[in-house]
């Protein structure tokens, strides 16, 4: 459905997209995950022909995407990172305006606008102007403006930034529902939990490149980490850390501000082995956590930095 081949975008000496390759299939919720500045928004802007790129090709629905590809644009809906609505129009008027840029027929448009209002739960606010809405409601309006015309492809660029948890959950549920109704979704975010929660396939971006892609299970299976054990422990000596590193299946140990973090490959009884060692060596410890690998671990192992950096 969407094919991005060898996309290169430079801002002077800065390479924002470095030979980016992506392929997105119809019916997916495709997540673009990466820290701020990794090139997600630039990739989206190039995809939408909003931004000139230096090299590469973007194909959507089998046709090359250009600024005047109005036939392709007819089937796309976008929800930008920054809220893009008219402050001077009411909630209803805003949705009607943007829907009207895609749908000319008045009666059909009216129905679509009403459905969009209902979909994002803004029925009580249709006569209000955006400035009177809370951050969460504003984001919902932003989404309604992008999806009212029932697009085949919806591109959402960090739609949950600065949104309260309640609105965030509602938005995420809404995205899944849109996908169930037949839309393919491209979703960019730097919140790995969100991407894990809704995306069927994920590409992790860093420095303008896709460093890994696949389902979340596939991504996690690409790395050594099978389990991360975190223990609050007082006064562990350097020699003891070296000994923990020698325990079976342990491949990385860090001790920082009285928190011991041990990364193990996927095997049974990792936690018990580590706790036994601490007891035998009379190391006092407090809270203990054991976590399965996250996308952050994937990012960490591939790039050597935290996703949240």
């Amino acid at each position: 459905m969407i094919k991005i081949e060898n996309l290169v975008k430079r801002y002077g000496n800065l390479v924002a997209l470095d030979h980016l390759n992506l392929e997105i299939e119809e019916g997916e919720i495709f997540g673009l995950l990466g820290p701020n500045g990794s090139g997600k928004t630039t990739a989206i802007s190039c995809m939408l022909a909003l931004l000139k790129y230096d090299k590469g090709k973007v194909t959507i629905f089998g046709e090359e995407m250009k600024p005047d590809s109005y036939k392709i644009k007819q089937q796309i809906g976008i929800v930008l990172q920054n809220v893009a609505v008219f402050d001077e129009l009411t909630v209803y008027e805003n949705i009607d305006y943007f829907c009207g840029l895609y749908v000319k027929e008045k009666a059909k448009r009216k129905k679509l606008v009403e459905e969009a209002v209902q979909f994002v739960g803004l029925e009580e606010y249709i006569k209000m102007r955006p400035k009177k809405l809370s951050g969460g409601l504003l984001r919902r309006l932003n989404i309604a403006c992008g999806i009212a015309h029932r697009p085949r492809l919806i591109i959402m660029d960090e739609p949950t930034v600065a949104v309260d948890p309640q609105s965030r959950n509602r938005i995420l549920e809404g995205i899944k529902e849109l996908n169930r109704q037949g839309s393919t979704i491209i979703y960019t975010s730097h919140y790995m939990e969100e991407v894990e929660q809704i995306c069927t396939r994920i590409a992790i971006m860093d420095h303008g490149r896709s460093i890994a892609s696949g389902t979340k299970e596939e991504l996690k299976s690409m790395i050594k980490t099978g389990e991360t054990v975190t223990i609050e422990a007082v006064a562990i000596e350097e020699a003891q850390i070296r000994e923990i590193r020698q325990l079976p299946h342990v491949f990385d140990v860090r001790y920082d501000e009285q928190v011991l973090t041990v990364r193990c490959t996927g095997a049974k009884h990792n936690l018990i082995r580590i706790l036994n060692y601490l007891q035998e060596n009379a190391v006092s410890f407090g809270r203990v956590f054991s976590e399965l690998p996250t996308l952050n671990d994937v990012f960490l192992e591939i790039t050597g930095t935290e996703l949240r950096d």
Binding site: A49, K52, Y70, F98
Partner: protein, 376 residues
């Protein structure tokens, strides 16, 4: 297209910034102008009381006293003269019973109690007398045979000159302020144009980016923005003209259709300038507003908004500016209609304005239509 235009109008009418500068500000300024000097001709000056102290019993002193008495006797009732001695005169001045003391001696002089209109009038009288005396002395020195005639002329002195335009209509210096004000209002359409460009260029706002990825043709979006901007601003200027004519009761001798034509072209200049400057530069919003405000204010200033003589100064020193300054051209076109009765000059001003706005409009179309962005 109607869908776009309907909402474009709504957006503009609800945007305070888009209405304040092009509509409210000119109305407020017009009101200030009106109260500051719009009614100056109607001002009722009171007769200025003045005291004369005769310092010498000489022909010069007598001549000056006679001069003041002749002014007092004039129908204009500019001054009333009382003869006093020095002590009484000083007392009258202190008690504000007199605005000034004229000393009639070999060299006439004036003492006043402060600075103001009355004091200026007395100063002018003294200067007028001195000039006359100087003239007589010159004639006596160079053409003594004509002195009798000169004295006769001076005695029959009256105002022989009145200011009349070539078109036969009376020129009112204050009218220049109001023509420049209308020109300024037309130029302030640039703020509406600026707002339009913000919603058209994807690298300026997220809103514009969203509009750019829709299947609605870019030219349609641009056309709708331009038409609604021109339309709204033209109505703004019509409101200003109606306010000047019917509320402030200013006399416009020219035909209204011609005035509307000038206003229409003026609005096109203002709006297209705003769109062009906003879209052709990648500078920040604040800088662009400052540029627009600077251009429109400088143009209006040179067209005589703050000083009615400025346009003449420019005409004498650098006339090309008056030929390309849109505000000067607009105000000149108004002058042609209302004062000069000069159709040729009117057509020239109008044609220049039309060409300039056409160039700006086409330029804006090209810049916005072809733009793809280096950064969003």
């Amino acid at each position: 297209m109607l869908h776009l235009m309907k909402y474009d109008v709504k957006v503009k009418l609800h945007n305070f910034n888009m209405l304040f500068w092009p509509l409210v500000f000119p109305l407020v300024l017009a009101t200030f102008f009106y109260f500051a000097f719009g009614r100056m001709e109607e001002a009722d000056f009171e007769t200025v009381p003045v005291v004369i102290v005769e310092e010498a019993d000489s022909a010069e002193a007598d001549a000056f006293t006679e001069f003041l008495k002749s002014i007092e006797a004039d129908d204009t009732k500019l001054i009333t003269v009382k003869k006093m001695d020095e002590k009484e005169a000083q007392k009258a001045l202190e008690e504000k019973k007199a605005a000034g003391i004229f000393y009639a001696g070999d060299e006439p002089s004036l003492t006043v109690r402060g600075v103001g209109l009355e004091e200026s009038i007395l100063q002018s009288l003294l200067e007028s007398y001195e000039n006359g005396r100087q003239t007589m002395e010159n004639i006596a020195a160079s053409h003594p045979e004509g002195i009798q005639n000169a004295v006769k002329q001076m005695e029959n002195y009256e105002e022989l000159v009145s200011q009349v335009s070539l078109g036969g209509r009376t020129t009112n210096g204050n009218a220049q302020f109001f023509y420049a004000l209308i020109a300024m209002a037309c130029m302030y359409g640039c703020f509406i144009g600026f707002g339009s460009a913000l919603t058209l260029q994807a690298n300026l706002t997220a809103l514009a980016a969203r509009r750019c990825v829709t299947p609605t043709h870019k030219l349609k979006l641009i056309l709708s923005e331009m038409l609604t901007s021109f339309g709204i601003h033209f109505i703004n200027v019509i409101i200003l003209l109606l306010y000047l004519k019917f509320v402030l009761k200013l006399e416009f001798d020219g035909q209204m259709p011609q005035m509307l034509l000038v206003s229409f072209v003026g609005c096109m200049i203002g709006v297209s300038m705003g769109i062009f400057i906003s879209s052709s530069s990648k500078r920040g919003e604040g800088i662009k507003i400052a540029i627009l405000l600077g251009i429109s204010m400088v143009c209006s200033f040179l067209a005589g908004l703050m000083n009615s003589g400025m346009k003449d100064v420019v005409e004498r020193n650098c006339p090309i500016i008056n030929r390309i300054n849109p505000a000067a051209l607009i105000s000149d076109a108004f002058y042609c209609i209302n004062v000069y009765d000069d159709p040729l000059r009117f057509r020239r001003s109008l044609m220049t304005l039309v060409i300039m706005s056409a160039v700006l409009t086409i330029g804006s179309f090209l810049v916005i239509r072809r733009e793809r962005y280096d950064n969003i």
